[in-house]
Amino acid sequence: MTGPMGDLPSDDDKLGLPPADTPDLPPDDASGLPPEEQPGIPETATPDADPAGSEQVPGWQAILRGLGPRGLALKIGAPVLALLISLLITMGVLRLAGADPVSSMQSMIDYGTTSNSVVDILNRATRYYLSAIAVAIGFRMALFNIGVDGQYRLAALLAASLGGAVTLPAPFGQMLVIVAAMVIGGAWASIAGLLKVARGVSEVISTIMLNAIATGIIAYLLNTDRLAANRPGSNNVATPDLPSSGRIGPLNGFLSNLGIDLPGRLYGLLPLAIVIGIVFWVVINRTRFGFDLKISGLSPTAAQASGVSAGRMIVITMVLSGVVAGLIGMPELLGASYNYSLNFPAGLGFTGITVALLGRNHPVGIALAAILFAFLDQSSDILQEVNVPKEIVGVMQGVVVLTVVIVYELVRRWEIRLQQKNVASELAAGHTVATEAAK
């Protein structure tokens, strides 16, 4: 097991990092623990209360929380470099699969930029975006909410049946459904948070379990004896349709007023995703709560010492993550399907994890990642049409995530070393000046 996995990163280290370790540099790990003894779980992973700006976060945590290079040039350069590398690898894979890389890419782009596809891609990206934000909220605190999938499906089912059962005048029906979904998503996620605080259950385990339980509950409830509408002779089971006053129309009308004419139906709730992204950014970066959340993730002990209740933060973060997860199904439910059925999109919670990872947990990064993934997914059909197996799309997505993660981490380390080197040489220079002045 240590064979391939242990070798790979060390190769990358050599590949991406110049031998910058000058012997007079202090060791990286301020804690002084040998690397083997650094615990691998979030609560205790950063025992060093190093308050300095260049704190050493374990690499995997840095990746989860989207820490990256600090300089603006590198912030832009790193993803561009990563995308170029992944493009090259993808071309190679296409070649190996027996396809012509250039013409395959060409047909992907041609198809992906037709106006029909643009609408599909934006709709798909909206779902991915909400899902990734839900995941990113947890990541920012080093909480791995794998349960987003169960949270949004359960929320969508219950909100759909509630919305189908009551008819309210225009804005209230929609608001009822959306609020209900947020409450249910948050409540379901809170179970994992409470379990972690009260019993120390890892949220990774409990959310995976809760996904399975949610699937069971949905299967039980989505039955004509319970929440589903009676549709004789149908192979589908669905909740009753939302009343027409409780739906949200497409954005196409609004956009055509602006001179943008699109076919199909662009989700009316697409702006909601943008709002959620802005709120996410403001809360994380401009509020006391966001500060507490980031600190709890960076160093639970430091957070505790400065009066932040770790348990409270865990529960609140999980609930917020679940609240946003509850929204994932809303654009489709209120804007397209109007019911929860066997055809309701499933598995978005897992895609969200990857998209959040790719987007570095930053609202803008996630938006770009969501659009990229949506574009790749959209092109799966056209690739099959030009005789490239659809699984290539999964390979491409994996390649993109891997290269982005690796390149970011390498660039980040390289930048830290560079800073340390600069500081060291300045200190040394200062020392010389001082001694010379004393003479």
Binding site: P35, Q38, W60, I63, N236, N343, P389, E391, G394, Q397
Partner: protein, 354 residues
Amino acid sequence: MRRGLKITLVSVTGAALALNTAACGGKKSSSGDGGGDGKKSIKVGLAFDIGGRGDQSFNDSAAAGLDRVKKDLNVTTEEISAKPDEPDADKESRLRLLAGKGYKAIVGVGFAYTNAVVKVAKDFPNTKFLVVDADQCQVTGANVEGACFSEEQGSYLVGAAAALKSKTGTIGFIGGVNTPLIQKFEAGYAAGAKAAKPGIKILPAKYLTQPPNFDGFKNPALGNEAAKGQLDAGADVIYHAAGGAGIGVIKTVGGAGKWAIGVDSDQYNQPAVSAVKDHILTSMVKRVDTSVFDFVKGVSDGTFQAGIKKYDLSNDGVSYATTGGFVDDIKAKLDQYKADIVSGKIKVPTKPGA
């Protein structure tokens, strides 16, 4: 390099999750040779539901129809599979893509395509569409055909066969995924068994997974376990409606020397279970392949008819297999039931417990 290891682990986990959701299915999609169109050749597009070709079941049955089309008629074909996390809109785009590329006969495999086909068909009046398993057995449009199957009728006959052949007086049913479609199999099976032998004990139906987890149609290990459970409970005839997972059922039941009943195609002839084929009592055959073939043939020779086409016992759209000769001794009885169902004397329920 411990830290490096952790990075790799996280990255690999992330990528694995991405692949997990993105790369469902598994078989390379094949397609026509592209070139060599003769003058009368038409292009046929097939849009699969989740799983696609290679699911040993429903999709494969449609694929078999397409293969026959390719062999017998002068056509070029194309197949595109669905993704598990897609809404109806993506199915529409898929059909639109095929129609826009000049495919003149387009098949949507699975009830999930019903709405998408009806919608897209309006925009492409010169293209003919087929929905296999049309939802609620309804389609609209002058260029849309909906095929619907009476699975419960075929299941009724194999249920009767199970009851008549059981020595322990206990029989079982294993369904792939708990959906109304598979419940039709269960309902017909139970009704047929009770009709043939009123005192028969039918074990509670075992569904391998709940939607949206469709592993129950794919994972033979699940079928394996479920079959063991029902054998332990005393069943000596077990009917599966579990697609690829049913391979596990048949192997386990056959290995224990009891009777298995196959589904969708005549599984006696299926290479995957040839080792235990002498323990496949019969199979409930659902001619998805025929519906695809008939549709393409109709389009190519101009006899296409829009609207619903029912496939039931009366036109052998569903039937029971006799290969192996294990049901020869009760064939007269089964044919009597069949005649009664065709004439309407027996009404087969479509919901379990009815």
